[in-house]
Symmetry: D2
Subunit: 343 residues, 4 copies
């Protein structure tokens, strides 16, 4: 095989052709900066409509770590921390962004990357009951991602239970939607954008991994998080000078269902890929659900596929098998999957 196909991640190409066209078409227009332009306005409106959340605030940031650290900075008191799964992006892969913002990541037990309402509740109860609680970090926010780092998803019932726990303990509920398109395309979750807007205090709608060149929309539901958010974004280096680039992209994604279409495509491609692995008796580290697959491979299997495809390894099981991640994106084509399994 002369050239390897790539399932390395969902940000290994540029953007969806329609987004490129929109950027090209608007390139010469003159607009004001920092997201105060008409494209950003329109995109904000489209997103609020899609969320059925007319009083929400919508902001456009460039990247996901930026979103996470800025939301944490805005939502937490100095003595509060963020509840996260051990595998949470904020806990593992942001080089300490949350801590550099002054806050501890409070790891609560999880399964397949998913937190449970019960585990969060027990954690908060145990904090409350501790006679030395004043000397400990107070839980202030719950960080979830939909889909999770392990490709799994929360269902409506689970998210509702977590909302109740958040209310019980006065926690901000933040949903990181870096891969939200893929999650929204899974109807079984029963979580659509209006449901998310009803349950979360703040959430992001990922563009980078869902067809855009870059960009994450932050949707703020909770009033107390709204004021001066733009100043906070500016302070942390997240306010794009040519902000309309974000507006143009999100307008295109939400104008007529492109975002949902991209999510479905990602999942369809992942399902096709999973089917091929399954038929060959491969096992998965977590159940194949969204656009990330975690396939278990022994050394010879990994070697075989390494010659045919680019993919990441996220660790090793005790039985020696590697956990190999295959990711599909808006640009994954069926022919690439066929090529991978061709003799």
């Amino acid at each position: 095989m002369s050239k390897r196909v790539s399932f390395e991640n969902d940000y290994n190409t540029g953007c969806h052709p329609r987004i490129l066209a929109a950027l090209s078409k608007t390139n010469d227009e003159r607009t004001t900066g920092y997201g105060l332009d008409r494209y950003s306005d329109e995109a904000r409106g489209l997103i609020k409509d899609a969320c059925r959340a007319p009083t929400a605030d919508v902001h456009f940031l460039v990247g996901g770590t930026q979103v996470n650290l800025i939301v944490a900075a805005g939502a937490l008191k100095p003595w509060q921390g963020v509840i996260s799964a051990e595998t949470g992006h904020v806990n593992v892969h942001e080089a300490g962004a949350i801590e550099a913002t002054g806050h501890k990541v409070l790891v609560v037990e999880s399964k397949d990357g998913l937190l449970s309402a019960d585990a969060i509740d027990r954690y908060c109860q145990s904090y409350r009951d501790d006679p030395t609680a004043e000397h400990m970090v107070q839980p202030g926010m719950i960080y979830l991602s939909q889909t999770t780092e392990l490709g799994t998803v929360y269902h409506l019932k689970e998210l509702r239970a977590i909302r109740q726990v958040a209310d019980r303990w006065g926690l901000t509920l933040f949903v990181d939607g870096a891969r939200l398109a893929s999650a929204l395309a899974i109807e079984e979750t029963e979580i659509d954008l209006p449901a998310l807007a009803e349950l979360a205090d703040v959430f992001s709608i990922g563009g980078t991994k869902c067809g855009a060149l870059f960009g994450e929309a932050v949707v703020i539901i909770k009033d107390s998080l709204k004021s001066d958010f733009r100043s906070l974004v500016k302070q942390r280096g997240g306010l794009l000078a040519k902000g309309r680039l974000l507006g143009v992209q999100f307008r295109e994604l939400f104008r007529d269902g492109l975002y949902m279409e991209i999510g479905r495509h990602e999942n369809d491609m992942a399902a096709a890929l999973a089917a091929q692995f399954s038929v060959r008796d491969f096992e998965f580290y977590t159940p194949p659900t969204s656009n990330q697959l975690f396939v278990l491979m022994d050394d010879s299997e990994e070697k075989y596929f390494s010659e045919r495809a680019v993919f990441e390894r996220i660790g090793k099981q005790k039985d020696g098998r590697r956990i190999c991640r295959f990711v599909t994106s808006f640009s994954t084509e069926k022919t690439e999957i066929d090529a991978l399994f061709a003799q």
Copy 2:
């Protein structure tokens, strides 16, 4: 006049057509993420060549505030501050980004946005001589911008003197080149990229305001600033997932002189604009030098031009005249200038 021309800023359009073409052409390619792709490699090489600095490290970030806060985070000890002009971007227009990183901005007297070696030296001497120096913020870095916020520029002799002061007091010398293209096009400064690389410890080469969609290259000369810089960038939310977008853009800017060409165009347009104002006896707040002009206008003049053009007001003089900023960019056309002054 039905439609106003815009001299609002140098980031009010998309990007130079050649950059858009390069992004379009490479859009479907698959590359690895976070700037480890071949386009970024090539761009880093071109910049090092242009700076005649083969051992420099080059990183690509998205925006200027990001650059400034990350460089400060990397260069300063916790008890150190950044020397800046009162008008410095880090002092005024970053919503406290440097302070949010833990450091004080130490304002040293300046003229027309320019710091002098003498003023910096006196400041440091006075810190050293103060019997309570231990209780004060230690100067750790000099922040300059070329061009300055007021459109003025440092000349080689001045920068050399500042370098000597930096050496005398052990300060990191950082040059913010958000508008470096315009500065480089002013030959009288005698500061080209190799001179900058020789004198500064770290500097940025602005893309956002010089023809790119977005992006700033950070050139690190001083060895002690190099290690783990990518981790720092990641931690502060500055590592772009689709990093090759930055590579593609800077490769285009530095492949065959486009960056310099853009700088010359910006300055030519500004000179034409300044000439029109001069011929009408307008005065300037600072000498017209680069792509930003600061024209003094009384109320009726300001009203007149407001109907014809978009521009910013950055303050008022004691004599009541407003300081009106007119900025040219890669996309400014001669016809726009003509239109502004047409009867």
Copy 3:
């Protein structure tokens, strides 16, 4: 003269004999830690009574910089800064403690160390009016000290005006009372503890410079600053394990008027000292008011007094005279003043 008397500062001896006696008497008792003991309880009650502020929260911290940075951390949003006089302790002599907490010190013009309501109001108005306000640091708190670093004091009328400005702009009003005993002893100010508790949102009652071994009481009036303050104090290293040491000291200071007595003594001694200087035609940098005097001396005068006393120099006037600071404390004795001026 064999031995120099010391007017170096108001923390150059141990503590008032009654405080030492109280610490000695209670030394062997066993109490719980971290300020939850009966002495601290009693001291908190005495202070609330003295302030006629039954719903205030009172906390005991060790030092003044600690107080300032912790109050800033608790009161400010991440994008807010602290308004201070140029000479404010937070601006000059805390090695960047406020900035290390993430906040900018916003210098507003002042006279003799005193801010005026007008100047603060103008500053806030100008922030509000700036079209780029989102990119600037938002004023969030006013920092005053009573007495100021230059020994001057606010009067009731001035403080009331500042309170109005604070209300107008939604600012927290914080009064640093490191030298509050001296200020309270100046009846002309018409600011007693109940007045302070009525006007400030939070203030400190200094122990270190007013007779204690160490310790500052923080009185929190504004409800939103109250919750979890002990966690914040713990996090910043300000929660003393043997917290009762602070309780014992403040109980002694507020049990029967010792704190006021110390303030009067400090001022009496300063007045005696000022009289001696005045009679010899010395001029003062700021009007002699409280327990700090700032005497202007030429070189020969400074040399003369240097041989007789320890004192600090805080700068030089343009006319070449040095600004020499003489400070009195609870332990200053009339004989020391006599000794200084003896032939």
Copy 4:
């Protein structure tokens, strides 16, 4: 029983009588502030002698959390974290002080509160081997405490192995000696002050829990940590105005062996207490070693002792028994132990 004896902690009384005498004796003397006085000088000299570390820097701070956060601030790069046992004080009981300083606490597996060289080495190796290491928090410092939070101690061989791992990975080795007196009194560890000074880069010598009113000496061995440490201490609110109070106390502790004597007394009392529990067939959560005992008690036992003594509960075992902490101090008397077990 009318009055309960207290084994609540080792900071529930004032100070050792000799320290009180020294403070009383020097109370009226005038000295300069901030630890630049002759008592502090002398104490620094005595500590350097005791450590046989003539080139060490010694600083006196007020409390332990202060020490830990200041050392972390001084030793770590912004993208680095602190390796700690799960039970480490920095991880659990400082309300997020390390995170508020910008750094993550990296939990490495431990046993009985003790880290092993192997576990640290594996952790660092795994960081190095991770292809996404740039996106993770880099280990920068090892935090140990001697004695640990669970009363256990490191032996010379273990500390040497950890030193080697620190060297292998370029980590700063910091030993928190809040209860160092008790640890030094255990000869079997073979770790005396000179050994500590040879192996650690920086360590603290606790006063608060070892006979002083308050105070921790920080001994800096590693040259790169030395410069400007006083500015850092000031910035974090740790520089005591009447710094000589710390000097007087540490001078007394190190003048003629009082510190060691206190450690021995604490351990003797703990051993006597442990013997009484053992003879009654109580089991311990960790082996009785130093001045903290962790006794396992069922409900009726806990109730019985609660009526006779004050002590803390730090958790519950799965078998339902509570982990009850009994702590001895310089002021614990044999009669209190007898009283606890009297019928």
